[in-house]
Amino acid sequence: MANDIKISIRNLFKIFGPVPDVALEHVRRGMNKADLLEQQSHVLGLRDINVDMRNGEITVIMGLSGSGKSTLIRHLNRLIEPTAGEIRIDGEDVLSYSEEQLRKLRRERMSMVFQKFALLPHKTVLENAGMAKAIRGYTTSDFEADARKWLARVGLEGNENQYPHQLSGGMQQRVGIARALVSDAPIMLMDEAFSALDPLIRSDMQDLLLELQEELHKTIVFITHDLDEALKLADHLVILKDGEVVQQGDPQEILLNPGDPYIVDFISDINRARVLRVRSVMKPGSEAEENYAGDISERDNLETVLERSGGDTELAFRVVRDGRQVGSLHMKDLTRALVPTAAATESRQRA
């Protein structure tokens, strides 16, 4: 089940302007974004997007502002209509849906969390959390237990009868997440959900999301402009630039093998020790002859290993998964992996 493709986007184009069809022809023939704006006065939103999002995974779409990431996520529930292309959810073509089917999709199979929270200011926290159910026609007493459960789960026990404006930003976004969870939809779209929060709270919310995901296994599409956030959350990372996918894949893989100068630039500033995991830099195999300083999990990040080694670069660790050795890690390799370009060239040589 875990590897089923839940959402599939094929050859998706979006062009903003009065006659997008004409502009589309130019774009298909290879006109770039700047020329299109200058010669045709149309704005290229998305060009030839192909992404598969797997069931139960967090797919992070990352890009700077103007890269089309918010446009892309709004295509999934058709808040924005594409100019050309195909979007399949559970194998069904969403673009062929009637208004009624689309509404059913939005009500029952998708939920969304917004950057600016978008809560109803005149409703209590409890009513906001149950909004999706209320829209489907349930009364407050029907969804109250559910809403209370999820509000408690996101840490808002006791705030049920307050109004959104009485809560802090972080708490409001918790209501936003509870609202998405109460809807019981298998797909969660999160549009820069944590970007408006301050860094400490953002980190808390990321942990909360990962914790919830551990338990719920929803298909989450997460939009962000923050690479650290993307690397922390992503099972599958899609990097967008000017409406095009620059690179997509396992985030560790992208980090070690950036396929584009744009991405090299991008990843040059991040804290690699925190983001890289042991499994990405270890030597696979189970040779037992070495003198190991201890056992580490393949899912630990390099920061944890550095801490355990106490800065001694002579050490080597045994990497274990479920108690069995799957590889070994020399501190020298670890240190090398921390230098962006070195890591890139080395892994290229290894390949």
Partner: protein, 345 residues
């Protein structure tokens, strides 16, 4: 003869002009100069060159219509369609007369010891403030004590009916405007006209259309004058609703109807209430003017004060109007503040 003779002679219209020679009535100026026995001199200096208006051209060519024929034509045209217009408008507007007469009858024939507590109850319901209730009670008792109770209640009943109808008609029009740009483009010029026409001008065509003895005459004048703010602010309020919240409503699959009743109207309510406040204040302004066309109430006393130069009557009734205005404004503002407080963002 006249300054602009050359225009008609150069166009070869002399024959057409002379046809109308005797038929056109003489203007006052011509009559005067004729009685004085002066002939209008041919040579006018450039300094005294008249603007080529209808009257000036008529002097040169009697067949050319004078400007008074324009107003006359308008009047005749209106009188011609008046009868058929009344056939349509009379039945449509008749309920307004009944509504106004019924409310006036009800308010005046219910004893004061029921009406005043009922009014105070309404004030408490919308404002939840005992301070305001006691202020309103004091004001009404003052008006009643100086024997203006009946007039004030007449004015109030007319305002209640007209403001209620303004909201009943204005809010849906405002919603329609907010949903369609075409509708907005068509409605705004009408609203601009209604807002800039001097209030007295409303009365002129209405007097011709309806009989002055009917209460709907002033009812319509007040509604036309006072409906504008509630329409404008409903439209504005709905258009100003946070785009993110609307998007969330869409993303969770609200139908357009759910969106309107559960998101747009509740969030636009502060603006709509500001419109209602304006509408009530404008009804009060118009109800005084409408006393010219037999609207009862404090306005009648003001009018008496002006007509008979009864200074005291005019001043006291004017003060009564001010008191009513303050009451209405405070009460609607208090309910507006209550709505605002419940949906800060």
């Amino acid at each position: 003869m006249a300054t602009y003779d050359f225009v008609f002679s150069s166009l070869g219209l002399n024959d057409w002009c002379s046809e109308g020679e005797s038929s056109a009535p003489m203007s006052m100026a011509q009559l005067l100069s004729k009685t004085k026995g002066e002939e209008s001199s041919d040579t006018t200096s450039l300094w005294e060159l008249p603007f080529p208006s209808m009257d000036a051209l008529n002097e040169a060519c009697p067949a050319f219509p004078q400007s008074r024929e324009l107003t006359k034509g308008l009047e005749e045209g209106f009188l011609d369609i008046k009868d058929s217009l009344s056939v349509v408008l009379d039945p449509i507007t008749q309920p307004l007369s009944w509504f106004l007469d019924g409310t006036l009858y009800g308010m005046l024939n219910t004893p004061w010891w029921i009406i005043i507590p009922a009014l105070l109850g309404v004030v408490f319901l919308v404002s939840r403030s005992w301070k305001l209730v006691s202020f309103v009670a004091g004001s009404i008792f003052l008006l009643a004590f100086i024997d203006h109770y009946e007039y004030a209640m007449q004015t109030l009943s007319i305002i209640f009916v007209c403001a209620f109808l303004c909201v009943l008609l204005g809010v849906p029009i405002g919603i329609a405007m907010s949903r369609s740009d075409v509708m907005q483009r068509m409605t705004i010029p009408v609203l601009d006209m209604l807002q800039t026409l001097p209030p007295f001008v409303y009365l002129i065509p209405l007097i011709f259309l309806f009989s002055v003895t009917e209460s709907k005459l002033y009812g319509i004048a007040i509604i036309l004058y006072a409906i504008v703010p509630v329409i404008r602010l409903t439209n504005l309020g709905i258009r100003l609703v946070d785009k993110d919240v609307i998007e969330a409503a869409d993303a969770f699959g609200m139908t357009p109807r759910q969106k309107l009743y559960k998101v747009q109207i509740p969030l636009a309510l502060p603006n709509i209430m500001a419109g209602v406040n304006q509408t009530i204040m404008m009804s009060l302004a118009m109800v005084v003017i409408a006393s010219l066309v037999s609207a009862p109430g404090l306005g009648v006393l003001v009018l008496r004060g002006i007509r008979n130069l009864e200074l005291g009557v005019g001043l006291v009734s004017g003060l009564g109007i001010v008191i009513l205005a303050v009451i209405l404004d405070r009460v609607t503002k208090a309910s507006l503040a209550r709505i605002n407080a419940s949906q800060k963002q």
